[in-house]
């Protein structure tokens, strides 16, 4: 296991040299979909656009398929190999807060320029795992109260549009590419998706 950690550590250091200064990805606003006349088709198009954020590494890394987060734009295993623990904030013995404070923190090293941080830094619950899912599967999952933290669509919209931890994706600290667009446009897309019926693409891969 230690060898695996060492390989992952090298991966972190190599990845960190290539991620910085990535050009910002755009995110189209809801108005740019006005030409789609069919309401359900337009709804799906809103979500597909919003999913550029949901499927971005800044989001996926803490919505992993297992109970351990990943890191970097290549979603490599987190170093160290932390576990979600009972409250999704790591274990008592190795909590997320060992390294992740209330805000992004500058490092003393050159190759990893900052350590991410947020007041509510935590892993998504197991029911909200996104890694490995298609956009259509995430769409179904995110509006299912049994899998979205028992949120109504209105609560979901507020969460995605306003939650500071979601907002971290656009302010991820030096050396880390932010999610596409802005949280404001992302929230507008989610709002438009809900207002048009919250339709999802077919789940076939």
């Amino acid at each position: 296991m230690k060898c695996a950690h060492a390989v992952a550590l090298v991966g972190v250091l190599l990845a960190a040299t290539t991620v910085a200064d990535t050009p910002l990805e755009p995110l189209r606003s809801p108005q740019e979909f006005d030409s789609i006349r069919d309401r359900a088709a337009r709804s799906k198009a809103y979500f597909t656009e919003a999913a550029k954020v949901l499927q971005h590494p800044r989001c996926l890394n803490c919505h992993p398929a297992t109970r351990s987060p990943t890191q970097g734009d290549d979603l490599h295993p987190h170093v160290p190999l932390v576990q979600a623990g009972p409250e999704n904030k790591g274990t008592k013995e190795l909590p997320c807060s060992s390294c992740h404070g209330a805000a992004n923190a500058a490092t003393l090293g050159a190759r990893v320029k900052s350590i991410p941080g947020n007041d509510h830094w935590s892993l998504a619950p197991a029911s909200m795992a996104w890694q490995g899912l298609t956009t259509a599967e995430i769409c179904e999952q995110i509006k299912d109260p049994k899998r979205n933290g028992n949120r109504t669509l209105a609560q979901l919209e507020k969460h995605l549009a306003e939650d500071p931890l979601v907002g971290w994706a656009w302010d991820p600290g030096e050396g880390r590419a932010p999610a596409p667009g802005t949280q404001q446009v992302f929230g507008q897309l989610i709002s438009a998706w809900i207002k048009t019926g919250a339709h999802c693409e077919n789940r076939s891969r």
């Binding site: 807060s97 923190a105 490092t107």
Partner: protein
């Protein structure tokens, strides 16, 4: 900026920029050099201290973020039964090779035993994966943590085990 810090039960007044890493304050201002600088990016664990009992990497912890919290460093390890048992086990099993990472290893081990009195090999490997040792003393570290856990268990009053 002048700030008071509680370190190992003693209040220190320091005058440093508020974004100064706690590690520099401990080593260069207070003179507690047991906590080591390793990678500077929170990946190796050499700079681990406890803040309100939680293991923290002091190299990426700004002094501003500490506030009134209680900081404990390797210099205070021996003030707790867990710490003393770990020190004894470390010596008994001659864990240390070059020794540079060992203060961080011990602080992580102390946090582990404080939260899990009878850790399995897997528990130890998982928690201690945050501390890197270039000498490869991992096997001895694991054995020493198990010895310390056993000693603590043996010395616990009947009925509390």
């Amino acid at each position: 900026m002048s700030q008071q810090l509680s370190i190992n039960g003693v209040t220190h007044t320091v005058d440093v920029d508020d974004d100064t890493p706690l590690l520099w304050v401990l080593r260069d201002v207070i003179g507690l050099t047991g906590t080591k600088f390793g990678c500077g990016i929170a990946l190796c664990g050499a700079c681990t201290v406890h803040i309100d009992g939680v293991p923290r990497r002091s190299c990426i912890t700004s002094v501003r973020s500490v506030g009134n919290a209680s900081i404990r460093t390797i210099e205070a390890l021996e003030t707790t039964p867990v710490g003393r048992s770990l020190q004894k086990a470390w010596l008994d099993l001659e864990v240390v090779q070059c020794g540079y990472c060992q203060s961080g290893q011990l602080m992580s081990a102390a946090a582990l035993l404080a939260g899990n009195a009878t850790p399995s090999d897997e528990d130890i490997d998982t928690v201690m994966s945050g501390n890197v040792c270039r000498c490869g003393t991992y096997g001895r570290i694991r054995a020493a943590i198990k010895q310390a856990a056993a000693e603590i268990h043996q010395s616990a009053p009947e009925g509390t085990r």
